[in-house]
């Protein structure tokens, strides 16, 4: 039987378990006495083992089995958690991940047996505890209860209700002198791939003889339309014991009832059995409705899948796992395009309605229709956007582990604090943000955080802290990577820039702090004194910057010397449709994303002040630089200055700017279109949109004008 159809589920769930293991092992390192944590780990390792076994990945199963043994000892207080153990465990996790990668690539687990890890685990097990066989205790206990369940009723396989023809068949075989055995196989309650399990049993049995009776039928088994037991009757020439051994070799089988059967077994008790069967069916939770949903399940923590197998023992306080549907991104793109068209159609209707000269009544209904259409498109847009949005959680979840490893490698104690992991971003952005963030974190760990002696001397806590904050701001999502390390030495960077011949000494003198910091994003510019394998090769920040810019975002650096550095990554929330304010500069129309607009002011020309020869306005206690959009966009100069200016105040982070426009047109939902490769060398314009009258308007990237 083929298990490849379960491969996707296996990969998904294994990913989930690995992440959970990683999280919990990290926690365990901090709180070695945390029993809940150990239990979680045990469960996750157990599920991993089970799944690997199901799929026939023997080496992976072996490794997880040994890990499970260790956890079991920890759980029973026979072994104390220490950093050696944690290190071994992390190595094991890496090995499991490697298996998973191989599985993904080749559908097989590869040849790496990771014997050294298994050896380490076993040595640890022996060193920590000599008695060491508490693991089977639990299994034995559950066996007992199962035994009790079926005691006195006769085995299930003896009570099967068979069709006339089937009994005939049995009789035939009997008369030709064949031996028949009945089996009732009990699968463990928390088994996740029951059908696969059953097939493995079939496969094992088929080596010995022919299976003549399947109960439930093999179709039902395939659809997982069965509870925790299934029965088979086998014709074979072999003895019972080897078959039993073969079945027992399949993992997650709780127990097997077996015995020789004859046609007579089924002729007599048929009616009795029927009643019993019915009673059993009503008692069992209906598993038939589940399989369909189960397939869609994404990597879920170990606790959730366990609940699926046996709903009976599900505690009430289980966290509800988010059910995500995997959708081909191409389909989503198609959907998105349709919505785009719908909006364009709507916009043209809107523009017709503006010029319509028909009777008032018609006008009214027409407007109602438009409003209706508008409502539909807006909701449709929202729901499609939501489908595309995923929390950054999956991407950032691996970082605590990474920082821990770095901390040990660099011999600098440090902690990673994360907030806002549930911040949602467009799927494509989330997929690509991992690498740049990883770069920034490594950068903070390597360059930012000082060694403990320096920190102590500076009066800081010895343990450095790195913070990753994600939050939404208008149409943007901000991800901050902050460290409380040494901060950037502006003068040193200035010197380095001169040394590298990027600027002359004179030029360097006049550069602002921000301009100096920008050198960090130059390709090949590294401040590290020595090249480590973590960073220092000067490949990094420039890649980070270009990666983030290709996603339509930008990076900013704030740093206080001696107090730390913050990298602010700003990403667009959506890539396709935004609410925008349409403005006019001369006779050209431009769109400004509504999310970045703070307010709109009418400023008399007389109120314009000058600071360092730059135009500024003074607004409610803030001094805001004025940006003449017409100059920025090379528009034809205006003949005479009007008495007052329309100023759109835009915001980027903590800074504001006043954008001077000629006219305001109004708010509109716009579809962002790319300008195409050939004129894309333009920072101020980040796209175009098609207006209701078919005209093309350009979208101003407010973040680029600061």
């Amino acid at each position: 039987m083929d298990v490849s159809q379960y491969l996707d589920i296996f990969i998904d769930e294994t990913n989930g378990h690995i992440q959970e293991l990683s999280d919990n092992i990290m926690l365990l390192e901090k709180e070695p006495e945390n029993k809940d944590c150990v239990n979680e780990i045990f469960r996750a390792a157990h599920s991993l083992k089970g799944m690997a076994g199901t799929m026939g990945f023997k080496k992976m199963q072996h490794l997880t089995h040994d890990m499970e043994n260790v956890f079991s000892e920890v759980r029973n207080d026979n072994i104390k958690v220490n950093s050696t153990l944690i290190d071994i465990l992390f190595q094991c996790l890496d090995a499991i991940e490697a298996y998973l990668e191989t599985v993904k690539a080749t559908s097989g687990e590869g040849d790496e047996a990771n014997e050294h890890l298994i050896k380490m685990l076993n040595e640890f097990l022996e060193g920590g505890d000599s008695s060491g066989d508490s693991a089977p205790a639990e299994a034995a206990a559950s066996e007992d209860s199962a035994e009790a369940e079926s005691a006195g009723e006769g085995y299930e396989y003896e009570n099967l209700k068979l069709e006339e023809e089937e009994i005939e068949k049995l009789k035939e075989i009997e008369s030709s002198g064949g031996k028949m055995y009945g089996f009732t196989v009990h699968i463990q309650k928390d088994c996740m791939l029951k059908a696969a399990r059953a097939f493995l049993v079939y496969k094992a049995v088929e080596d010995f003889g022919e299976i003549i009776i399947y109960n439930p039928s093999s179709e039902d088994i395939e659809d997982e339309k069965f509870d925790l037991t299934f029965n088979i009757i086998v014709v074979t020439e072999s003895e019972l014991q080897p078959i039993l051994d073969a079945i027992s070799a399949v993992s997650e089988i709780e127990k097997i009832d077996a015995g020789e059967v004859t046609s007579a077994t089924y002729t007599k008790p048929a009616e009795e059995a029927e009643e019993k069967k019915e009673a059993e069916e009503t008692a069992a939770p209906a598993p038939a409705a589940k399989p369909a949903e189960e397939k869609k399940e994404t990597p879920a923590p170990a606790k959730a899948p366990a609940a699926k197998g046996g709903a009976k023992n599900a505690p009430a306080n289980k966290p509800v796992t988010a059910r995500t549907v995997r959708v081909d991104i191409e389909k989503l793109d198609a959907l998105m395009n349709q919505v785009s068209e719908l909006i364009i159609a709507k916009n043209s209707l809107v523009s017709i309605s503006d010029q319509d000269t028909r009777s008032d009544e018609n006008q009214q209904t027409f407007h109602e229709q438009i409003e209706y259409l508008e409502r539909i498109t807006t909701t449709l847009h929202e729901s499609v956007m939501k489908v595309r949005m995923v929390p950054i959680e999956n991407t950032v979840a691996k970082f605590p582990r990474m920082i821990r490893d770095l901390s040990r490698k660099l011999n600098k104690p440090m902690e990673l604090y994360m907030t806002g992991e549930d911040t949602e971003l467009d799927r494509t952005v989330v997929d690509q943000i991992g690498d740049p963030l990883q770069h920034l974190l490594r950068n903070s760990a390597d360059h930012g955080i000082e060694d403990p002696e320096t920190r102590r001397a500076a009066g800081k806590p010895e343990t450095g802290s790195i913070t990753l904050n994600a939050f939404q701001e208008g149409n943007n999502v901000i991800i901050e990577v902050k460290d409380d390390g040494a901060g950037l030495d502006i003068e040193k960077i200035r010197g380095k820039a001169v040394e590298r011949g990027l600027v002359t000494e004179e030029q360097a003198e006049n550069l602002s702090k921000k301009e100096v910091i920008d050198f960090l994003f130059n390709p090949g510019f590294s401040m590290a004194k020595k090249v480590t394998d973590i960073s220092g090769r000067g490949v990094g920040l420039d890649v980070v910057k270009s990666n983030i810019e290709s996603l339509g975002g930008d990076v900013e650096v704030k740093s206080v010397f001696g107090q730390g550095t913050t990298f602010v990554v700003r990403l667009p929330l959506t890539l396709a449709i935004i609410q925008a304010l349409m403005v006019e500069v001369r006779d050209e129309k431009y769109a400004i994303a509504l999310g970045s607009i703070q307010n709109i002011e009418n400023i008399p020309v007389s109120e314009i002040k000058y600071v360092q020869a730059e135009e500024v306005i003074h607004l409610r206690g803030m001094v805001i630089p004025l940006i003449r959009l017409d100059e920025l966009l090379d528009s034809t100069p205006k003949e005479e200055e009007p008495e007052s200016l329309t100023v759109v105040v835009v915001k980027k982070g903590d800074s504001y700017a006043g954008v001077v426009v000629d006219n305001l047109i109004g708010q509109q939902e716009i579809v962002i279109k790319s300008l195409g490769k050939c004129i894309d060398n333009n920072k101020i314009i980040n796209g175009a949109t098609i207006l209701g009258d078919g005209e093309v308007a350009l979208i101003i990237d407010v973040n680029a004008i600061f």
Binding site: L633, L675, G676, C678, E695, V696, L698
Partner: protein
């Protein structure tokens, strides 16, 4: 290149060209690159774009950049008349790009031996875009090398 190869094998096979006029000259555009020919429409200027890009247009809901062949070939700037057309070219690397021409004349078919590849024009800039000179009813037609028009975006 396979086209040329094909032409060598089957001598009589001809390539179709759209003949357009720009200024006083006639140019031929390989029809396999032509997606569409549209009338002049509202062009949106793109600030800071390379000089030879006039702007962008709306082609049935798609934003398509528009190039001026006159600017590219350092001729006088375009004057749009009723005869002016935009030829939408389809390239693999750049997607759709529109070029403005003064007039679309006709479609002709030329075989390889009707195109003189050695003919040289005086201006070195123009050389880059022309793969040969074709003859049609006594008129000379410069065959434009489509890929080279877009290759040298940075040069101009």
């Amino acid at each position: 290149m396979t086209d040329e190869y094909g032409l060598e094998v089957v001598e009589k096979e001809k390539v179709q060209y759209i003949v357009v006029s720009i200024g006083n000259e006639q140019y031929g555009l390989d029809i396999s690159y032509v997606d569409n020919i549209v009338r002049m429409c509202k062009i949106t200027r793109v600030p800071k774009a390379p000089f030879h890009y006039i702007g962008i247009i709306n082609l049935r809901g798609e934003v398509v950049p528009l190039m001026s062949l006159r600017r590219k070939m350092k001729l006088d700037d375009d004057e749009f008349t009723d005869l002016s057309r935009i030829i939408i070219l389809k390239t693999e690397e750049m997607g759709l790009i529109g070029v403005v021409v003064d007039e679309v004349k006709e479609v002709i078919a030329l075989s390889e031996d009707e195109i003189d590849e050695n003919a040289k024009t005086q201006s070195p800039e123009k050389d880059n875009f022309i793969s040969g000179i074709g003859k049609n009813e006594g008129e000379l037609i410069s065959i434009l090398e489509i890929s080279s028009i877009f290759d040298e975006v940075d040069n101009a």
